[in-house]
Structure formats: structure tokens, C-alpha cells
């Protein structure tokens, strides 16, 4: 070995490659690095452009763009609290309905389900994400909304004592939009919950069972505490999806820029107003700037929710083997929805 390491002509070891043969390596390395850096640059550029375009709305309306309640394109006044309100209310409904269902499905699939049924059933739940949101909108408008109206009427009259419930349900309202959002976030919340639950050490579960715990007690004392950060993160990713969902909401929320007094009244959301008014706004600078500002608010909101969600999920994964973590779950449930 020593002898072969003698300097070749040009002062290189014979084991070393010539500069010419190392060139493709350098090119590939720097090419790929530039590509990665380019993504950051493009994201930053878009963000700055969006801020620039929405400056008009914020300089004319200030903070009342977000907290004022008067959205009226005919008078060129854009105080968008009703939109933010609608976005938040529908997303909360989606979480309240969707997350418990998603967690029960995940618990059943990881802890109780017969091994042979596990993969096909999980695949079916994931398929919910494959349905495009415009199809959920179509189904919501022509099937769910008319069929559920009597149920909503019953709910409104029976539980009218609860705040924000009651009144005469409109055909399209916060509740129906939130319900469809719940269906749309179900697969991602469930997939991440499943993945986190699968990482619970079997020693913990076996210890609980050996101490005489029933299946449910084992789930409650071994699985849930261990998986809680990951489940919370998954729910927050679902929240991020619900906040930004456009097409299914725009056809189901009723498109009325008012702060509703009940979940059964018509409302509006940030994403829905952008999709709806964008065509007519092109000729009015203030109006289009207001829509860009609505987009900016939405973007920042989803960004914050996603950052917090990532934090929970990485905390849930700390000290565990394997990289990628929820990568596969996110990919598997990205095949649709989340628009």
C-alpha cells in the first residue's frame, strides 16, 4: 500500500483522481446545492411580493383590515373580520368533529384491528385524501347540505341553549362547511396518529397488560400519553389544512361577509373571498390589494400553525430511531384534498 501511494507526476498520489475526473462530481454537488438554495430564494421572493401587493390594503385600513367588521366591495371598504371569523369557526368545527374520529380510527387500526385487516383499512382511510376538494364541494352542495338540513334544524332547536347554536339553519352555513372540512382533514390526522402510535414501545404496552390492564386501560396508560405530542402535532397539521381549504368551503359556506350569530348561518372565509371576488377585483386596485392582504393573513396563519405542529411532531419523535418520521404519512395523505 505504501509503495502505491508514491507521488505520481504532478505531485498527486496515484490514488487521487485527476482534477478533470473530479469535475463532474463538483458540478453535481454544487448543482444540487444550488437547486436546494433556489427553493428558499423562490419562497422568499414570493413572500416579499405578496407583502408588497397587500401593502395598499394595510395602509388604507390598518389593523381594522383584520379586526374591523365591514366588507363591502361596492363602497370599496374592506374590513375583513367576518372572513377571519369564518375561517376560524369552520376550522374549529372541523377539528371538533374530525380529530376524535381520526384518533379513534387510528387507535382501532393500530391496537385492536386484526392484523390482516390493518393495511387495507388504513389504505381506505388514506383514500379520503385522494378525493379532490372540488369533488367534496360537489358532493356537499348536492347531497350533504340538502340531506342534513332537517338534522341541522333539529340540532338548532334542541340545543338552542348553547351559544352559537340555534336560529333557522341556512342551506349553506359554517357547520356544513366545517363538516366537509372535518372529512378532508381526517386522513392526515389519522395517518400521523397511526404513525406515532406505532412507535410506542411494545415493552410499555406489554408491561401494562402484564399488570392486568384491559386493552382500553393499556391504551389509556401506555399508548395515549406516549403518543400525545405527535397526535397534537397531527391535529395541528389538520388545522393548517382546514384553514387554507378553498374550493369546498367557497361553495358551502354561503358567501355572506357577515359575522354569523350561530354556526347554522351563512358566512365567508379568507380563502373563499379570494376565490370568489378575485375576478371582479382585478379592475379595482384597493379591492385586489385587499384580497392579496387576505391571502397574506391566511399564509401567515397557516405558517404559524404549521411551525407549531412541526415542533410538536419533532418533540414526539425525539430520541427515537429513524429519520423522515411523519414524512411517509404526509406524502401518503397528500394525494388529494388540502386545497
Amino acid at each position: 500500500v505504501e509503495s502505491s501511494a508514491t507521488p505520481a507526476p504532478g505531485g498527486r498520489s496515484v490514488l487521487e483522481r485527476s482534477p478533470a475526473s473530479r469535475l463532474p462530481d463538483r458540478i453535481l454537488k454544487w448543482g444540487l446545492t444550488t437547486l436546494a438554495a433556489l427553493i428558499l430564494a423562490v419562497l422568499a421572493y414570493f413572500f416579499i411580493r405578496l407583502i408588497g401587493q397587500s401593502r395598499g390594503a394595510f395602509s388604507s385600513f390598518g389593523l381594522s383590515f383584520v379586526f374591523g367588521n365591514d366588507w363591502d366591495p361596492s363602497r370599496n371598504i374592506y374590513h375583513g373580520f367576518a372572513l377571519l371569523f369564518g375561517t376560524l369557526v369552520t376550522s374549529v368545527i372541523a377539528l371538533v368533529v374530525g380529530v376524535p374520529v381520526a384518533i379513534s380510527a387510528a387507535l382501532y387500526l393500530t391496537e385492536l384491528c386484526p392484523r390482516r385487516l390493518r393495511a387495507p383499512l388504513s389504505g381506505l382511510v388514506d383514500l379520503l385524501a385522494a378525493v379532490p376538494s372540488v369533488v367534496y364541494g360537489l358532493w356537499g352542495v348536492f347531497v350533504l347540505a340538502p340531506k342534513l338540513l332537517p338534522v341541522e334544524k333539529w340540532l338548532a332547536s334542541t340545543f338552542s341553549a348553547i351559544p352559537f347554536v340555534g336560529g333557522t339553519p341556512a342551506l349553506y352555513n359554517y357547520f356544513i362547511a366545517g363538516l366537509v372540512l372535518a372529512i378532508m382533514i381526517l386522513p392526515i390526522v389519522s395517518a400521523i396518529a397511526r404513525e406515532v402510535m406505532a412507535t410506542v414501545p411494545s415493552e410499555h404496552k406489554e408491561a401494562a397488560l402484564a399488570l392486568g390492564a384491559t386493552r382500553w386501560e393499556m391504551i389509556r396508560i401506555a399508548v395515549l400519553p406516549y403518543a400525545r405530542p405527535g397526535i397534537t402535532g397531527g391535529a395541528m397539521l389538520g388545522l393548517g389544512r382546514a384553514l387554507g381549504e378553498t374550493i369546498a368551503v367557497v361553495v358551502l359556506i354561503g358567501d355572506a361577509p357577515v359575522v354569523g350569530h350561530s354556526i347554522f348561518t351563512q358566512g365567508y372565509s379568507l380563502a373563499a373571498v379570494i376565490a370568489n371576488e378575485f375576478g371582479e377585483a382585478a379592475s379595482t386596485p384597493t379591492h385586489s390589494s385587499a384580497l392579496f392582504a387576505a391571502g397574506l393573513v391566511l399564509f401567515v396563519l397557516t405558517l404559524l400553525v404549521n411551525i407549531v405542529a412541526r415542533r410538536y411532531i419533532t418533540r414526539g419523535q425525539r430520541g427515537r430511531r429513524g429519520t423522515g418520521g411523519t414524512g411517509l404519512a404526509v406524502v401518503a395523505t397528500h394525494a388529494g384534498g388540502g386545497e
Binding site: G31, F46, V134, I247, L303, N306, V330, E339
Partner: protein
């Protein structure tokens, strides 16, 4: 001392266990109901409007008479998604290669990984706005064009390709890389001859899932492609697509047009499902 001395589980605890098991089964059933209902109604209302002319005529656009079919919508969707795939898949796999082969645990790779994750959470309507602001308003090669829609779709497909590819590239055993390097192969050859071929099925799976996702998106197209009726192969013009056509048909008061929306919805879901099932079949084979 005999083992039978173990006390049986109290009835109260047993009852609670039964109830909670029932609740979990119920949750799973509830989770599956929407899927069954959506597919049932798509078949029930959509199959009726499927006919030969449904797939061979374009929407007429006139308010009366025959509304026409979905030919231009299907072709438009395929064209735009094909271009979006041509953009996002090579870039996405390239970034994933950077992350697994060069960046690894470096700080910069961590930053990239973080922002790619953040990108998966950006609402698709925001990507539409981005492209609208930077390409449509400034009239880069016309106002609304199909290729701008493809760029918007590629932005939201990109993070899926990156994360999906990274996961499978990490599965390539490092012993394979080390063996190739020890034989004296330069890195670029290791990547092109060892890493990529080994990970190929997984890369295809991730890409197919990304394509399926891009295919169903509506919001980004509204701001970039706008709408059209006729069939066109010109990516520099406005184009009709399945999602945007369904979206405009939903709000149409005519029953025949709504029926077309169901038929188009069924066609769109069929396309997306085929891509999904293909992706899963390939993934399953690569694991085995």
C-alpha cells in the same frame, strides 16, 4: 399458592373496556362512511352522464341547448399536470439527492428540510396567488396561460416529491454506496448507477402521489389558467381543466350542466384513484 388465585377483572372495568372498544370501532366506521357515500353518489349520478359524446365533445359554453362534454377538460388537465410533473419531479428528486447524498445532517440541509415541510402546509390558493402576482399581473408571456398553472401546481407538488424521495433514498443501504465508493467509483456515478436505480420504485411512487395531488387541485388554476371551452394544445393560452370545469358547473342552475359536473367528478376521481393505486402497487412490490 396457585395461579388461579389471580382475581378476575372487575365487571366495571370489563364493561368500560367493551364500551371503549365499541367507541373505537364506531370511530373507524364513521371515518369510512364519507368515502363510501362520495363514491356511491359519484357512480350513481356520474355514470348516467357518461357516454361516447361526453368524452368526445367540448363544453359548448352556450347557456341553452346541449352543454357539451368534457374532452377539452380531460386533455387540459393531462397537459397541465404533465408539464407540472416535468418541472417538479426532476427538481424534487434533485433536492432530495442533495439532502441524502451531500447535505445530510448539515445546518443548511436542516433549513431546506424545514422549509420543504413548511411548503407542504402552504394552502394551494396561496401558491395560486404567488404565481398570479409574479407572472400573471406582470404579463410574462400573456396574462392567463396554461404553463403558469403548471408552475403553480409544480410548486405544491414539489415538497411531496422531495419528502417522498428523501424517505426512499434514505432506505438505500449505505453498504451499497460504500461498496461502490470502495471500488473507486466517483460520487456522481454512485448516485446515477447505484443509488437512483435502487430507489427507483420508491421514487416512482412518490412522484405518482404528487401527480395525483396536482391533478385534483382547483384553486391555483383559477388564478393562473382561468377558463376556456375549446380543446387546445397551446400551453401559452387559457385552458379548460377538469377541476375548474366542475367548479363552474356546480354553480350553474341547469340540471344538465350539474349532471356534467358529476360525470366530470367521476372521471377526475377515477384518474386520481388509478394513479394512487398504481403508486401503492409499485410501493408494495418494492418492499417485498
Amino acid at each position: 399458592m396457585s395461579l388461579t388465585a389471580l382475581a378476575p377483572i372487575e365487571p366495571r372495568r370489563r364493561r368500560k373496556d367493551r364500551i371503549m372498544r365499541g367507541v373505537l370501532v364506531g370511530g373507524t366506521v364513521i371515518a369510512l362512511i364519507p368515502l363510501v357515500l362520495v363514491i356511491y353518489y359519484l357512480l350513481h349520478k356520474g355514470l348516467g352522464s357518461w357516454s361516447a359524446s361526453f368524452f368526445t365533445t367540448d363544453p359548448s359554453g352556450s347557456f341553452f341547448g346541449n352543454p357539451g362534454g368534457i374532452r377539452s377538460a380531460i386533455f387540459g388537465t393531462l397537459e397541465i399536470v404533465a408539464l407540472a410533473s416535468l418541472i417538479s419531479i426532476p427538481i424534487g428528486i434533485g433536492v432530495a439527492l442533495y439532502l441524502t447524498e451531500y447535505g445530510r445532517d448539515s445546518r443548511f440541509a436542516g433549513v431546506i428540510r424545514y422549509f420543504v415541510d413548511v411548503m407542504t402546509g402552504v394552502p394551494s390558493i396561496v401558491f395560486g396567488l404567488f404565481i398570479y402576482i409574479s407572472l400573471v399581473v406582470s404579463h410574462v408571456g400573456g396574462s392567463f396561460t396554461a404553463w403558469k398553472g403548471a408552475v403553480a401546481l409544480s410548486l405544491l407538488m414539489l415538497p411531496i416529491v422531495v419528502r417522498g424521495s428523501e424517505v426512499v433514498l434514505l432506505l438505500v443501504p449505505s453498504s451499497l454506496r460504500e461498496a461502490a465508493l470502495a471500488l473507486g467509483a466517483p460520487r456522481w456515478r454512485v448516485i446515477t448507477r447505484v443509488v437512483l436505480p435502487t430507489a427507483l420504485p420508491g421514487l416512482v411512487t412518490g412522484s405518482l402521489l404528487a401527480i395525483a395531488r396536482g391533478m385534483g387541485e382547483t384553486a391555483p388554476l383559477l388564478f393562473t389558467v382561468s377558463t376556456a371551452f375549446g380543446l387546445t394544445g397551446n400551453l401559452g393560452a387559457q385552458m379548460n381543466t377538469l377541476p375548474t370545469q366542475i367548479f363552474s358547473d356546480i354553480t350553474n342552475p341547469r340540471d344538465v350542466v350539474v349532471a356534467r359536473a358529476w360525470g366530470a367528478g367521476l372521471a377526475l376521481v377515477a384518474l386520481v384513484l388509478i394513479l394512487n393505486l398504481a403508486a401503492r402497487a409499485i410501493a408494495r412490490r418494492s418492499v417485498a
